[in-house]
Amino acid sequence: MDTLRSKHIYKVKILSPNMEVEPGDLVEVKTKKGTFRGILMPKHEFSDENIIVLKLDNGYNIGLIPEEIKCIKKGIRRKKKSLYKFEKKDLPQISIISTGGTIASYIDYKTGAVHPALTAEDLIFSAPEIEEEANIKAFVLFNILSEDMNPLYWIQLARKIKDELKESHGVVIPHGTDTMSYTSAALSFMFSKLSGPVILVGAQRSSDRPSSDAYMNLISAVRVAKSDLGEVAVVMHATTSDDHCFIHRGTRVRKMHTSRRDAFKSVNSQPLGEVRGNKVIFYEGYRKVEEDVELYDKLDEKVSLIYYYPGMSGELMTRMLEGMDGAIIMGTGLGHISNEMIPLLKDFIRDGGVVGMSSQCIHGRVNLNVYSTGRKLKKIGVIPLEDMLPEVAYVKLMWLLGNFERDEVIKLLPQNLRGEISARRMIIW
């Protein structure tokens, strides 16, 4: 990720008498320590501002303080295509809609630097074999970091998916991993019917390394997109080994590790299935594709997601509720917050706000019947959200408030609509 953020721009005024030099060019650099020859590399973000980085003939990169730079030979630039289409008979068409992130990055093989994929060609570059799997129609919709995703992008993405499903069997969406599960939840709720699989996929190691998980994740995602799954799912490595991927339901998945390949887990449920080599195996109970697509694409952004902690002030809670139509609270344990908060929530609900309770334990079901605080919360109208993930509940409430009347919202919030809530939780987890 770091390299994606670097701007590749030198602040130091490069003294080049013959012509302008850019990263990728073969240059000769005069310094106090002697003259060096090599390929000018993109600037490293942590590099001192007086330093330029050079790749020497022996392959090593070094930082130098230049006195003069001479361009010996200009680097070669690649031509770009914005839409990539490859057709082969008897294969289904799959649309790849790129949104950004590590998976949608490619390496510049001249300089070794990682760039975000800006074109469809860049996207396919890392895994040309997917052309054997399907007729790929690939394009870049957004090029944003996962943390910059927001509800407006979700709506644009959903509309694009609907368009693509008119002619494609399924859709694959390369996405940054940080907020991929929010997007998968949002799409899950927005589509009440799907005519093809909608598969989100990411990578924890960028494709500039031979050990990248991007390739296996992407090809597995394409294989799932060819199936009869009528749901939104996330396909990522199942374990640290490169042997199989899990297919996670879009409303059940959560990033549970900052860096591991198998960071994505289905919480409070089993994955929908797995991809092993070219076999896609569904375990049980998934929704199949339907004839058409039905999209409810409104979202009410006035929803807070509030993480309660000991010492949280009533003043802060009041501010987080101000001007909001609803709030999801991540309470402690079975779904608790300090008694000081209860009158504040009571006022908010009386004034029309909707409040749902989830747990910061992430695993397990909330229950507001066991302790007195829970019972008080229930009495003032706080809705216990079963075993729904807090982030999923947050997205669901936005979607409900955007599309339904308040009474309906209160009724549907704790009901299972897209597999986000289950009645049973298993001993093995």
Binding site: G63, Y106, S126, P210, T240
Partner: protein
Amino acid sequence: MVKCGLEIHQQLATKKLFCECNSELSEEILYKFERVLRPTQSELGEIDRAALEESLKKRRFIYEVTPNSCLVEADEEPPHELNREALEIALKIALMLHAKIVDEIHVMRKIVIDGSNTSGFQRTALIAVDGYIDTFFGRVRIPTICLEEEAARKIEEKDGGVVYRLDRLGIPLVEISTSPDMKNGEQVKEVAERI
């Protein structure tokens, strides 16, 4: 006339170069995992599909996890900062060999896809250039001094994969390369011993 150069690798007894694991070998296997390494575009330029498939066949690797290997060696966590102690030792060596230390040290990746590095590359940094050592038979030039990480230890090769152990992966290594300036065995011995 005999012409001879040396490339000397010296392991450092610090913590590992990019994590806090101990630099030691181990016989205790805690866990095993399996990976495939894929050539990147930097290696192949334009990808030739047949060559790609061929290379993938030979690239299944089994890694043995030891108590002195963590997520960094498993390529499951970004590298930590370069170990200070190892860097200081490398700089001292560079000064002792009269080498010019570069203005800014850059750790870079040397692509290695035989499985000896879980990442598919070796992290290495050029520390200094243009050093020398004076011997009884004359001056021997030392063009480069590098600080790099040691590779994983190859345990066995079997059908469908190579087994590596992670204990050795990441141990700091100072690499000193001389020019082919040595003229006889005595001189080679002297240089090797002095370094």
